[in-house]
Every structure is written in C-alpha cells, then in structure tokens.
Symmetry: C2
Subunit: 149 residues, 2 copies
DNA sequence: TATTGTTATACTCTATAACTATA
DNA sequence: TATAGTTATAGAGTATAACAATA
C-alpha cells in the first residue's frame, strides 16, 4: 500500500498520458483510427468471435464496438457470418484485406515507438509493458459496462 | 533498442489504456471533468501563469486550453488578471474556491487508485510512475502543437 | 508582421436509452 | 422475459482555421 503522495504523483502521470496516445494516433491511416485498429488487432490475436466478446475484450460498450465493426465491415476488412448457434449473433472474422491493413498499422505503431523509445533499454520497455498490463487488470476487475446494472 | 515483438506488445498495452482513464474519470464531480482537473492541478503546482504556458504544460493546443480555462472561470474557480507585461495576455491563478475543488478531486483520485492498486507494492507504484514520466518525455520531445508549422 | 488568445467547426471516442430480432 | 446487436443522441476531448487585439 503506497503513500498518498505517491498516488498523487501517479495521478499526474496518468493524466498526462494523452500526449502519448496522440503521438501514437498521429501516424495512423485516415481510414483506420485507433479504435478500429484495436478491433483489428483483437480479431487477429483471438480469431473469430461475437460482438459481445469483442466488446468485453475492448472494455467498451457494445454500442461502441458495433460502430467500429460497422466501419470496418463497410471498408471490406472483416466479414460477418451467421452464428450457427444463435441467430441473433454473427461471427466476426478478419479477412485477407483486413490482415494487410493491420500489418500496415502495426508497422506504423512499431516505427513510432522505435523512434520515440530509441534510448530505452529492452528491460525498461519490458517493465513498462508489464506494469501497464497489470494496471489494466487492476482497473478492469471493477465494474464492467452493462454487466453490473 | 527493443525487438519488434516487444514494441507490438507495448502497443497493445498502450491501446488498452482507455479503461484506466475511464476508471479514474468515473468518480470525478460532474462540474469538473478530467481536462479541467488537469488545469487546476497545474496551476496549483506551478502557480500563476499565462494561457500559452498552460497549453504547453498540458501538451495541448491553446484553443483547447482556452475552453477549459473559460469553463473554470465561469464557475469561479480561477481568476484572470491583466498581465502587466503584455496586454494581450492575462495571468491565470487558482483562487481559494478552486483550491477546494482541487483538493476534493485529488482525494477522489487517490481513493480510486488506493482501491484499484491495493495489492501493489510501493516499489511497483513508484516504478510505474517513473516509467510513465519517462514515456511522456520520450513522446513530448517530438513536435508540439502550433510550434512546428 | 508576428503573437496571444478566442471562437466556430469538425472529428474521434465513449455512454445511455430506445428499438428489433431471437432465445 | 431476457439477451444480442443496432441506432439515435449526447457529451468530453481534441485540432484546424479564421478572427481580434496587441506587440
């Protein structure tokens, strides 16, 4: 359990995270912003899934996820097929075109990070990644949207 | 210099930061959202300053800063006095009411963090804070808004 | 002419609520 | 009756561009 002043300092750093987020988003293709990119990445990583599952992985409301998915589908980057187990759902899957777009975006992210963090050690990059993952867990375990009414 | 896969993993964690940001913002008073809270915190920490300096500290465009400041001024939480050195500028200063609001917000942030991170060690909280500060520096040193046209 | 700050406009991301179709 | 998903609407945060006042 940390001291109050430690939390206050952490608060300052968390509040200032926007500059990092914008730095990453700046170099994305106009057709695929950060929100949509996250959808592509999750579908690539976890494979075919339903919208509700995707929303859960994104920690975002289904209505938001639905719009991202619609955006990506309109551009022909992912397919929606009927779910044989439940006619209300459709299974979302990245297609070849979507994989290409994702690869492009991933390259852009990596380039931006490699440039910004050129003077970081491997260990520090790893430590930050680990702590961010843990931070997300610590916050994610609280109430999730539309699940604890 | 880290490997590509390390950057990709970091990208995932950075993209998922939204859940943390929303977790912190959820418990703020309706009258003062995160953006305005950041203004209060900076004026408390650095004292009286001009709008342009504030925008620089926030790493955000002056137009954005101007709106936050207008919001806070309307609520009577900060004062704008003529800058004796430049009639185009005004000096912004937190007043007593603003200090109270900031104290309230700071308490809320600390409470939220203490709850979410109750099982974190002091050392890990410190490490995360440090790495986030460094991350911000690494991104902040790039182009800043309205300075590199 | 250049700079400080303001305002109008537009875009992204998000949530809530009302709705349809299916379970 | 409850759940999966969609859509309409609203609000926070941000940037760009046009503008006023002053340097």
């Amino acid at each position: 359990m940390a001291a109050q002043s430690q939390y206050e300092e952490l608060t300052r750093q968390l509040s200032a995270f926007g500059v990092v987020k914008r730095g990453l988003a700046r170099d994305l293709p106009h057709q695929c912003q950060a929100g949509s990119a996250a959808v592509l990445a999750l579908l690539h990583r976890h494979g075919e899934m339903r919208l509700s599952r995707l929303a859960e992985l994104l920690s975002v409301d289904m209505s938001v996820t639905s719009r991202h998915v619609a955006h990506l589908t309109e551009r022909g980057w992912l397919d929606r097929e009927p779910d044989p187990l439940d006619k209300r759902s459709r299974l979302l899957r990245l297609n070849a075109e979507g994989e290409n777009v994702l690869r492009d975006i991933s390259d852009r992210y990596v380039t931006t990070l490699a440039e910004a963090l050129h003077d970081w050690s491997d260990e520090d990059v790893g430590r930050l990644t680990e702590l961010l993952a843990r931070l997300r867990d610590s916050f994610g375990e609280g109430r999730s949207p539309r699940t604890t009414p």
